[in-house]
């Protein structure tokens, strides 16, 4: 291979100067190294040790990237300006991430509270992962506690529909059409329990309502949706 480089190098393809086939990279060796690293990244997590998983999965991803970028993409031999351009991209991306991370990672927030995210974490951690939730420092209620419709309404629905179900939740103020007011007799003139269940399960769009009320079938079991519907029905004013 080496002799060919000398003979045909740049002239062979009429290639640009300074970036010919003069790198003497043993591509086969790089390829087999990559495969070996892949094997390690699969075997590593089998031990079930967190730091081993992190090192073998993500550490090796970085090593593999370095091998590919340097030897296959030949960035190692590229003009320095290109490295700067790519680094700038990475840095700008990192800046954006740092900027939004406080909103995404901190569910308690400084000036607001991400109730939907807190509720999602609690729902997901219910049962077997109970201890984790306590570590996370989320609301101190016992995670094993059975599903409570009024509590879930307060966590999830109230952000738009208001804690009292009167449609005055903080997140609902800007919505058009506004969130349903369950304490309004006029609202109930055209609704029954069956429709409430359908809307919670499939979203309001399923019955021709606003698509802003999304379906919750992925988050709650059918029984839980029934209980939530019961709670909504309980908000109905006496006639």
């Amino acid at each position: 291979m080496a002799e060919h480089h000398d003979e045909h190098g740049h002239a062979g393809s009429g290639h640009d100067a300074g970036h010919g086939d003069a790198h003497h990279v043993n591509y086969k060796k790089i390829y087999f190294t990559l495969l070996a690293l892949l094997a390690v990244s699969i075997i590593g997590p089998e031990f079930g040790i967190v730091w081993v998983t992190l090192v073998t999965a993500f550490g090796i991803a970085l090593v593999k990237t370095r091998l590919v970028v340097n030897n296959f993409m030949h960035l190692k031999w590229e003009k320095r300006i290109m490295k700067w351009v790519l680094t700038t991209s990475l840095v700008l991306m990192g800046l954006m991430m740092a900027g939004v991370s406080v909103d995404i990672l901190n569910h308690e927030g400084n000036n607001w509270e991400n109730v939907a995210a807190q509720a999602a974490v609690e729902r997901g951690l219910g049962g077997e992962h109970g201890e984790l939730a306590v570590e996370e420092g989320t609301e101190a209620e016992p995670v094993e506690a059975a599903f409570s419709a009024p509590q879930m309404f307060g966590l999830v629905c109230a952000s738009c529909h208001g804690a009292a179900g009167d449609g005055t939740g903080p997140a609902g103020a800007a919505l058009n059409p506004p969130p349903a007011n369950f304490t309004d007799p006029a609202f109930w003139s055209t609704r029954d329990r069956e429709r409430i269940v359908t809307v919670i399960r499939e979203g309001a769009a399923a019955v021709g309502g606003s698509p802003l009320m999304v379906g919750w079938s992925a988050s709650f079991t059918p029984e839980q949706i029934e209980q939530l519907a019961d709670h909504v029905m309980s908000l109905r004013p006496a006639q």
């Binding site: 290639h15 086969k28 997590p45 995210a117 974490v121």
Partner: protein, 192 residues
Amino acid sequence: MAFPKPQATLRSATGIPTGRLAVWWLLASEVVIFGGVLGSYLMFRLGHPEWADAAAVTNTYIGAINTFVLLTSSFTAVLAHQAAEKGDGKKAAGFLLLTIGGALTFLLIKSYEWTTEIMHGYTIQSNGFWQFYYTAAGLHALHVIAGAIIMGIVAADAYRGRELQRVELIGIYWHFVDVVWIFLFPLLYIAK
């Protein structure tokens, strides 16, 4: 060996041939696109420990096989580049065809995987994890499809000994698609 070149290919005010400069610029923007998706996923994942349950559903072995397929296709892509530098357009076209074969294999495995998951009820609407799963892997798959199509065009030219410098350019793009998958694999399949 002589073949016609557009003026832009010869011009290189930066010291980098214009075509390659353009590919690098493209990749600089791709870094932000994929980096943004993957970085957001990482932050959401850290904020939602319960996503681990959803991630446990993904099939590590299918992910690993697809990683193997993409690494292999990157290898054939760099061999195509090597052949093109020696002026062997036919050999370069052959390696590019092998790379396209890798792209098609990857897509076949991916469609089997997605079909199975969707049939089991894990759709893009299921929860945050699956939204990221289908968005990130879907965006990546679109890049695989686009790369395979462009590679076909470059291979057809290379076979006739034309535009051999483009073999390297599509290769650089292809390695990038490979690198994105190198990160998608641990993020979506290994970290449970």
